[in-house]
């Protein structure tokens, strides 16, 4: 028991922080209420340190270091997101309280709860990274998603936030049902929910002629259900509406936390079934010495998903007139990019970063998280005063037009963020995007890499449109009402600025590390390190003696025969 608990220290720390924050948020004393954000930040930092220090190497998994880096990533980006989220909850109510127009009423405040939901979600993300078990993974995914539903509804008083919440929640429940059904079939095909045991069984089945169709169905449904979390086709449709409706800081969170959870889960599940499952199973025999590929139907379906996701995301982003919708569609497209690396898989044993798709995904998640915070922080800081005097978020292109002239610093952050999303060379986005191409190429998926390239070109079009609106155009009449956020009594929005600056630092400093000794690629490589499960080492003779005498696998004959036999 204690062994199981010992892998959970970061989550335990976060949960304790959550409880503290919930209580702090109810205090009648404003200064104590203000402590919510710093305490949450401290909790995240402690959790990050604990994740780094206490997470043991998981020897029973094909990905021994994945948990540690996954948790660390969650803590780091979580910290940035926390800064963004500061001041979202209860803004108007707190303003009223501060001006003395209302008494503080613990029943009406949601401040502590809001932070608590965020921390719950991050806890879920960490649990996802450390999952060794399907039940665990299912619960962790739910813990990631359920708080976000509430956060959207709480994020803003506008009707759009409600609409976002209802769309996200109900479609999310549908997605959850689908991946649950998938998990059920994975269990059904292997008799176990332990990922290591699932790997073993799939390897055994693969050696025996092929993974059982029920297992494939399970993996397939799990992928499709998780497509909701990562906003991939065909489960992507909610994305623009939900992102547009939620308050910008919450949108930034939606664009990262569930996506990261989805990719963690996809990596964990696909590592069980594909690339030899770490155990010399080559479902579709590929080049000698390599991991092999994903089993045939899964690989093909994922390829279709990746292509459609990239293309649809980018193509629809071109058409948009709302900045947040553009970013939502681009978020879809980014998932597609990452799927390319995921399909490529971990590459041959012992390879370093360039061809390890898992490492590429982890690195891209880091880059995407940071860049995302940068871009959304600008949207979070700006607000628009409407004709009738009410205040709204900026949304349309017109409102960011001429941003450079009105808010130079914000425009600089915005443009750097956009360039980062675009993958512009000196920025981190570029160094993170390169491995996607490299791993796809190394995995032999030339067509996918080509489509990835074409899509990057399409993406450049709308990113440059955003850039030119912010930098080159002159302010429109509608932009005249756009002001940076009023200094609310709780000064929350300052944090968005700090966050933006932090994200900028990450965006610019990390590439410096990249060209120097402390390469982010190095930790990404560690994170994506893919090993055989003890006892299931790859059968080397399979690889070496393949050329002279192919192993007598019964499957080819069967495959060749079955159509005629059936006829």
């Amino acid at each position: 028991m204690i062994e199981k608990i010992s892998t959970l220290w970061p989550e335990i720390a976060l949960f304790m922080t959550t409880c503290v924050v919930m209580l702090l948020g109810l205090s009648a004393n404003l200064n104590i209420r203000k402590l919510c954000a710093p305490v949450s930040a401290a909790g995240l930092i402690i959790a990050g340190v604990l994740a780094f220090g206490t997470t043991p190497e998981n020897l029973s998994s094909t990905l021994p270091h994945f948990a540690m880096y996954g948790k660390l990533l969650a803590a780091v980006v979580g910290l940035l997101l926390l800064g963004l989220l500061t001041g979202v909850a209860d803004r108007q109510y707190e303003a009223l309280v501060a001006s003395g127009r209302e008494r503080f009423d613990p029943i009406r405040t949601v401040r502590g709860e809001f932070y608590a939901f965020f921390l719950f979600s991050i806890t879920g993300l960490m649990l996802c990274a450390g999952a060794t078990n399907l039940i665990w993974l299912f619960l962790a995914l739910e813990l990631v998603s359920l708080p976000t539903y509430v956060m959207i509804a709480l994020s803003s008083g506008r009707e759009r936030a409600m609409e976002s919440a209802v769309k996200y929640f109900f479609l999310g429940a549908l997605g959850a049902a689908i991946f649950l059904f998938g998990f059920v079939f994975i269990y059904g095909a292997t008799g176990s929910v332990e990922l290591a045991e699932i790997t073993r069984t799939f390897v055994a089945q693969g050696r025996d002629g092929g993974i059982n169709a029920i297992g494939l169905l399970g993996v397939l449904l799990a992928i499709l259900g998780l497509c909701f979390k990562i906003a991939a086709v065909p489960m992507h449709l909610y994305t623009p509406d939900v992102y547009q409706g939620a308050a910008s800081p919450v949108t930034a969170m939606l664009a990262f936390v569930p996506k990261a959870a989805g990719f963690y889960s996809l990596i964990l599940i696909l590592a069980c079934v594909g690339w030899g499952g770490g155990g010399g199973l080559t479902v579709t025999q590929s080049a000698a010495g390599s991991h092999g590929a994903l089993p045939s139907p899964i690989g093909e379906v994922l390829t279709i998903i990746a292509v459609l996701t990239m293309t649809i995301g980018n193509v629809l982003a071109v058409m948009q007139s709302s900045v947040k919708r553009v970013l939502a569609y681009s978020s879809i497209a980014h998932s597609g990019y990452m799927l390319v690396a995921l399909i490529a898989g971990p590459g041959p044993f012992g390879t370093d970063m360039p061809s390890n798709g898992f490492a590429a995904v982890m690195m891209y998640l880091l880059s995407y998280g940071i860049t995302n915070v940068a871009v959304f922080s600008v949207l979070a800081v700006l607000e628009r005063r409407q004709a009738d005097g009410t205040i709204d978020e900026v949304d349309g292109f017109g409102e960011i037009r001429g941003l450079r002239k009105r808010h130079t610093g914000l425009a600089a952050i915005f443009s750097l963020g956009i360039l980062g999303l675009m993958g512009f060379p000196p920025l981190f986005g570029f160094f993170a995007k390169l491995p996607l191409f490299q791993s796809g190429w190394a995995g032999g998926h030339m067509a996918l890499v080509l489509i990835l390239g074409i899509n990057s070109a399409i993406a450049a079009y709308y990113y440059l449109r955003l850039l030119s609106a912010a930098l080159l155009d002159s302010p429109e009449a509608s932009a005249r009402n756009v002001e940076s956020f009023e200094r609310a009594p709780l000064a929350g929005r300052d944090m968005a600025g700090y966050c933006a600056v932090l994200a900028m630092v990450g965006l610019i400093v990390l590439p410096l590390f990249q060209v120097s000794g402390l390469q982010p690629t190095r930790w990404a490589s560690d994170a994506g390190e893919y090993k055989a499960i003890p006892g299931l080492e790859p059968s080397r003779n399979n690889a070496t003696t393949l050329a002279p005498a192919p192993q007598p696998v019964p499957a080819p004959e069967a495959r060749a025969d079955s159509p005629q036999a059936a006829r």
């Binding site: 169709a213 499709l224 909701f228 449709l237 379906v301 279709i304 293309t311 058409m319 370093d352």
Partner: protein, 755 residues
């Protein structure tokens, strides 16, 4: 002042050290075992991390100038900051030189600043190019005159550019500092990539400074021309670096040289067929690079046009430092040339077949020699004094390459060193004239300048420079040119080249003194040029209001009527005096073996027994040893040139515009030389015209086909987006249905794929 320091440091105690090192290296080189004696015995010396200040201070200066631009400083502050920074940089260089000298040469040190590019993809396979400085005698030599001259010229420019105080001033000094930084990277980098960075950096700064007067179309055109022609050379350098990496797996000097030892042994033994052709090809590519940067045939045409830039820039970049980068490159990579001296056999029948009969060193030598001759002939017939100096620079660079080609690397480096000083002096003197006479540079419109009030120092400096350039005995230029000439005569198969060089020396002496006699002495006369900014600057603008009609002033510029030349101020005079003294003092570097010691303990050392350096049958000139006879011969040649100029351009001259030379009618030859042998026109016709036609064709193709495709490609996403947009109906149920249908379809795909 600074030169004095430097010269005084050449205390006799060092000289024996250098010569000892030299003799030791020579003795060791006799055996095949250590063909490149010094290179094989290289060991690292500890060198304090102060060295980073050498590139660091100019960069700081550039940043400060940039800061001044941001702060809208309207004073000479950036100039003073820059002078301070460069002087500091020079001081550190000098200190570095002393450190190196104290070890007695034969050493190098790699000062690691920070990791720059460090790709490790497999054990033993890495692409490493760190930001490290390589300190060896050759580096010291180059950096000494680069930083020293830069400091002087910055001081000069503080006055020269004073009409432009303000944003332009900051811009100038920003580019100036950046240039010195880039040059330091180029010279001091410990790997070829850093060299390449500096190479491109100086090219960029050169571009920026040539185009400094960006409102002048000719300046912009010249900047573009320089930039584009340099690209051709840069291509060669890039290819060479790639080839070196492919062949040797490293681009760091410290790792590269030991790898060459084996090839050098083969070369010494004459077994050139064992050296891979591709390794020999590297030298050819490097030659292309060096010829581009150093304005040699056929890529020299950009340098005369580059005189559109401000004169300090011409002096520093286009005479003294940047254009010698090509010489530096070859000197630095001389081992690669020494293994490439055999005809590149094995290339026949390939695309590189045309170089199969000629070795890299021959290309360098003959390229240099022909350039020297051609530029000298053009220089003889020009009237723009700055342009004459430009052609003279091209010509002298040709000398340096010829020296390298005949493996007189010491002579080449020495000539670089002396040339840097006297050519800077010449340019700055011309610049002072230009500054004082409102941009007038036509030697037919100026005369007797030296005798005007306040112009004596300029005239004397000019005289010193001219004497050096003409190779009058016991001047620095005389010594350095002699080394090259003597070596060319002593290597048997370069005999034709040697005669070409000697003839060029004659021409050089003639055209140099043609300028001096016409402009600085003779009857006093001047016509102002059309740049009156300097005039305005000094408040002599009373002429602006009058409307006098002057017949000779076709353009009707009123200001010209009351033009007064203004003699140079203290900064220009100080710098000129300093440089003139330095030009004279540089001669003392010859007997002390200052330069020779530095060169022969660096990579530019010529391996004894290197093929191509055989003194065939003890070649002689008129029966004497060329090394001795050349003192007399070149002295005589120089004197003949000067006397010819004296008769043609001084004796009996009445007006500024005429001279005895006008009576000479050389017909077409003269016209052709005046028109620079129609090289630009030739290039226009053979290269630019076909390119233009081609570009028009491509433009049409681009417009019709590519644009069409691009438009189509641009249309596709939009059309796709318009088609897909209805799927985003905004209705919860619509989304759910689409999701379910998607799952069904993808499931069906999976089912079909499962076979």
């Amino acid at each position: 002042m600074m030169m004095d320091q430097m010269m005084s440091s050449l205390s006799p105690s060092f000289a024996p050290v250098w010569s000892l090192a030299l003799s030791g290296g020579g003795g060791g080189g006799g055996e095949g075992g250590s063909a490149l004696g010094v290179l094989a015995s290289l060991k690292e010396v500890p060198l304090s991390a102060m060295v980073w200040l050498i590139p660091g201070l100019p960069l700081l200066g550039a940043l400060l100038a940039g800061l001044c631009a941001v702060l809208k400083v309207r004073s000479k502050l950036p100039a003073w900051l820059m002078v301070l920074c460069l002087a500091g940089s020079f001081a550190v260089t000098f200190w570095m030189y002393q450190q190196v000298a104290a070890t007695g040469g034969s050493t190098f040190a790699v000062v690691h600043l920070f990791d720059w590019i460090n790709f490790n993809w497999a054990p033993g396979k890495a692409f490493v190019a760190n930001f490290s400085l390589y300190v060896d005698p050759l580096t010291c030599l180059w950096m000494l005159f680069v930083t020293g001259l830069a400091a002087c010229i910055a001081l000069y420019a503080s006055e020269y550019m004073s009409h432009d105080v303000g944003p332009g001033y900051c811009r100038f000094f920003f580019a100036f500092g950046l240039f010195v930084f880039s040059m330091a990277c180029l010279v001091m980098g410990d790997n070829l990539l850093l060299l390449y960075l500096g190479w491109e950096g100086v090219g960029l700064c050169s571009y920026l400074l040539i185009g400094y007067f960006y409102q002048k179309p000719s300046a912009v055109a010249a900047a573009k021309k320089a930039f584009i022609l340099n690209r051709i050379g840069d291509l060669g350098l890039a290819l060479a670096i790639m080839l070196i990496f492919v062949k040797f797996g490293t681009i760091e000097y410290a790792k590269l040289w030991p790898m060459l030892t084996q090839y050098l042994q083969m070369a010494a033994a004459g077994q050139f067929d064992q050296i891979p052709t591709s390794v020999q090809l590297i030298a050819v590519l490097l030659t292309l690079a060096a010829f581009g940067k150093s304005a040699q045939l056929p890529l020299y045409v950009w340098l005369p046009d580059a005189m559109e830039g401000p004169t300090p820039v011409s002096a520093l970049i286009h005479a003294a430092t940047m254009v010698t980068a090509g010489v530096y490159l070859i000197a630095r990579t001389l081992p690669l040339f020494q293994i490439s001296v055999a005809p590149l056999a094995g290339l026949e029948g390939t695309w590189f077949g045309f170089v199969s009969q000629i070795s890299a060193l021959e290309i360098v030598a003959y390229g240099g020699g022909l350039t020297a001759l051609l530029a000298a002939t053009i220089g003889m017939a020009q009237f723009d004094i700055k342009r004459i100096m430009a052609y003279s620079t091209v010509s002298q660079l040709g000398f340096m390459f010829a020296g390298l080609g005949v493996l007189a690397s010491y002579g080449a480096a020495f000539h670089v060193f002396t040339h840097a000083f006297f050519k800077a002096t010449l340019f700055l003197a011309c610049g002072a004239v230009m500054h004082g006479f409102a941009g007038q540079l036509d030697l037919r419109k100026l005369s007797g300048v030296m005798w005007m009030k306040g112009w004596l120092i300029v005239g004397l400096a000019m005289l010193v420079g001219c004497l050096n350039l003409a190779g009058v005995p016991f001047t620095a230029g005389y010594f350095s040119k002699d080394v090259i000439l003597a070596e060319a005569f002593s290597v048997g198969h370069f005999r034709p080249l040697a005669w070409i060089l000697l003839f060029t020396a004659l021409l050089t002496a003639y055209y140099t003194f043609r300028v001096f006699f016409r402009v600085f002495v003779g009857p006093k006369h001047y016509e102002p040029g059309d740049e009156l900014h300097a005039h305005d600057d000094h408040g002599h603008d009373h002429g602006h209001g009058d409307k006098h009609d002057h017949g000779h002033d076709a353009k009707g510029h009123d200001a010209k009527a009351h033009f007064h030349p203004h003699p140079p101020g203290w900064a220009i005079n100080t710098v000129l005096a300093l440089l003139a003294i330095a030009s004279i003092a540089a001669a003392f570097a010859y007997p002390t073996y200052f330069v020779k010691g530095l060169v022969d303990t660096s990579t530019a050392q010529v391996a004894a027994g290197a093929a191509g350096h055989t003194h065939v049958g003890g070649a002689t000139i008129f029966g004497y040893d060329p090394h001795k006879a050349m003192y007399y011969i070149s002295g005589i040649v120089g004197a003949v040139g000067i006397i010819t100029a004296f008769f043609l351009h001084y004796l009996g001259r009445r007006t500024a515009a005429t001279s005895a030379a006008d009576n000479l009618n050389l017909g077409a030859l003269q016209r052709a030389a005046q028109n620079k042998w129609y090289v630009d026109e030739f290039y226009n016709f053979t290269i630019r015209l076909p390119l233009k036609v081609l570009s028009h064709i491509f433009h049409m193709l681009d417009k019709l086909v590519v644009d069409g495709l691009v438009n189509l490609a641009g249309l596709l996403p939009r059309a796709g987006g318009a088609g897909l947009r209805p799927s985003q109906s905004g209705v919860l149920h619509g989304y759910a249905v689409a999701m379910a249908a998607g799952i069904g379809v993808l499931g069906l795909v999976a089912l079909l794929a499962l076979r």
